[in-house]
Subunit: 280 residues, 3 copies
């Protein structure tokens, strides 16, 4: 087993056609010994927000020399920067600088960012192709970096961390006996919704497992959901079909239907316009 950094890929390409396969072939042609991990190739299409959240969700569980390659890239071929960022813990992220670094920058911290020099760190044999930087630029550059062919400094010129493109992030808050936040992301598989509210805010407000809480969800100025809901330790404690509040895997408050789909069943969604309030 190689001691070179692992490459964890996340894209919105899916495995339905040959794009992932071609991208991985480029990596293996740079250095056969590199280890490639599927982070996910099923991110929602063009959804830079999800790319940003998923990096934040999993990165801290990986060895600190791991290199993440994130390619959700609706602006491919335009003037948006292609970059490699380094976090405070040493992880690197190879990505278009289009907002995909938002969560990592805000919640983990980025110490340095460099623009990829396409004259050196781009696959030359596909020079005429402008639409597949996953294969031709991000995968290729990441492989060179992981392989040790280039150093971080040789990626390209450094630019100010302050210039990294950030999407707007809402902050949760405790307001008296009320805890307020938004549904920040979903679990698209099980239909759960995750708020941006850290568990500590619940503790601060005096909410504990076993409490019945009032939940109000407001979307577009209207109440989209309102009910009294039990705050439970895990899914298995709820009756099948019950709505529940729980502490998710990132220690943030989340909501689910036990063995059901909260998002679909109540026609809810996530984003800055999906406010949620909890009171006792």
């Amino acid at each position: 087993m190689s001691n070179k950094p692992m490459l964890v890929f996340q894209t919105d390409f899916t495995y339905k056609e040959g794009a992932v396969c071609a991208m991985y072939g480029v990596v293996k042609s740079v250095d056969r010994s590199l280890e490639i991990i599927d982070g996910s190739h099923e991110l929602p299409q063009y959804d830079i927000w999800s790319a940003s959240y998923r990096l934040y969700q999993s990165m801290e569980f990986w060895p600190t020399d791991t290199i993440f390659v994130s390619v959700v890239d609706p602006g491919v071929g335009t003037a948006r920067r292609a970059c490699v960022a380094k976090t405070v813990h040493g992880h690197m992220i190879v990505t278009p600088d289009n907002g995909a670094l938002t969560h990592v920058k805000r919640t983990i911290g980025i110490t340095e960012v460099r623009e990829i020099d396409e004259s050196i760190n781009r696959l030359q044999r596909t020079k005429g192709v402008a639409i597949f930087h996953g294969r031709d630029l991000f995968g290729y550059c990441a492989a060179r970096l992981a392989s040790g062919i280039i150093s971080f400094e040789e990626v390209g010129p450094v630019y100010p961390v302050e210039e990294i493109v950030e999407l707007p992030i809402a902050e949760a808050s405790v307001q008296g006996d009320k805890v307020c936040g938004i549904f920040e992301i979903n679990d698209p598989n099980f239909g759960n919704l995750w708020t941006n509210i850290p568990l500590e805010m619940f503790t601060e407000a005096g909410f504990a497992y076993g409490d019945m809480l009032n939940v109000r969800v407001i979307n577009d100025g209207k109440v989209a959901y309102e009910d009294r809901v039990l705050f439970e330790k895990s899914f298995g404690y709820a009756q099948k079909g019950d709505v529940m509040i729980y502490n998710n895997e990132l220690m943030r408050v989340a909501m689910a239907v036990s063995m059901g789909n909260f998002t679909e069943q109540y026609h809810l969604n996530y984003g800055g316009d999906w406010q949620v309030e909890f009171t006792k």
Copy 2:
């Protein structure tokens, strides 16, 4: 290439969000040299039966030191046991003891089972999280086991194999000139249905490739399907769109529509209440 046991994962998580990636990061943080294989992350949600069947379906094709990690876990966080079981051939399975060991226990055999000691073999940094044992318990414990950090004995206390939770399994039978069983599982991709009838029972009843057989499917006391169907060696011998009986990859009798979807086309399904009878 490492000589440590491989880890084969199967879950109902999908690749739509960051859960698999975080789980694999934990494994690689325990021991970078471990080899991770995707068994499947697309098992039907909460479907312990499928988890059990899929283990049985593929396990015998793997080297005997392979460790399987199966996480279909609707009872996560409750009192259900988390365990590691060892089969008669040496394979190990890390799983909630919720019925997922049913087929392996019945058709292969389990020699020993141990309850995972969470005070030792649980990731400590996520102690406050109760809902993601794939990452925090099963993946982490399996990695320690594969890496050699702990022995099988150090997983935790042994408990009687008889206490392993089993789902009810129906047995097929030959009754005179009739062979009876159930549709035990499906092939959700191609829409085929697999019975629990071993090919030998067909031989015993005198059925051979090329025979026309009467098939009757009974669900909920009513005939759900009845026809004369050819028993064929493989799909390619049937006309496109024809219903056919065949010997599946586990040497059990199955039914399909050649290049079609038997399950959907005839509104059929699998389970204990889907009886099927074959006569000449």
Copy 3:
């Protein structure tokens, strides 16, 4: 890391059940050190054309000793040949000889093809099974080849390259100021359609990025789509929702809706009966 050839698999099996897992188990039981890559397990069911195109799409990006295993096999168990082909660059393909070699043969070139000798290169323990050659024949034989247990010569008897089954391929052409071709394949994820027209034909006809072109799509003798469309360098230059013509990752002309789905939105498809013409 092993120096043995990598195995890149593509099938229409999906990960919904245990087939891929069993197949990979066979490979790892032949030789634990072999490296397995998921090319794709989501090829459209029974679609030999897609299998052929996807091999062509990704193969040239892989090290020349890589072995591809392609299993889209509606004729499994019948008299169709099972073979291993070698390309002019040294890549090998293990596949049913059912048309899956069409694009590689025509666009890359095949130097030699051998029929797999099932008496030697077939898994013996599943002898009674006729329906799963991915596991029992192709995966097993490919593993023996990659491992060095057998040489290419020991796969089985050579047969004439001319006998390889080919699907009909249409050729694009420049006819005066008109460039004619077909929609040859799709990108099923983003809904783009890829023509068989090389970019050079556009250059030859005097078309350049920034040009407005007349596009006419004819299906079944009727005009299925007709409009003036911008030929652009990449998706990011188009307005969201605009139809655009672009140069795809294989240097062929393609069409898309920027951040939309061209195929679905205009009820289009690909195949020999989907002619497309471009004029200025």
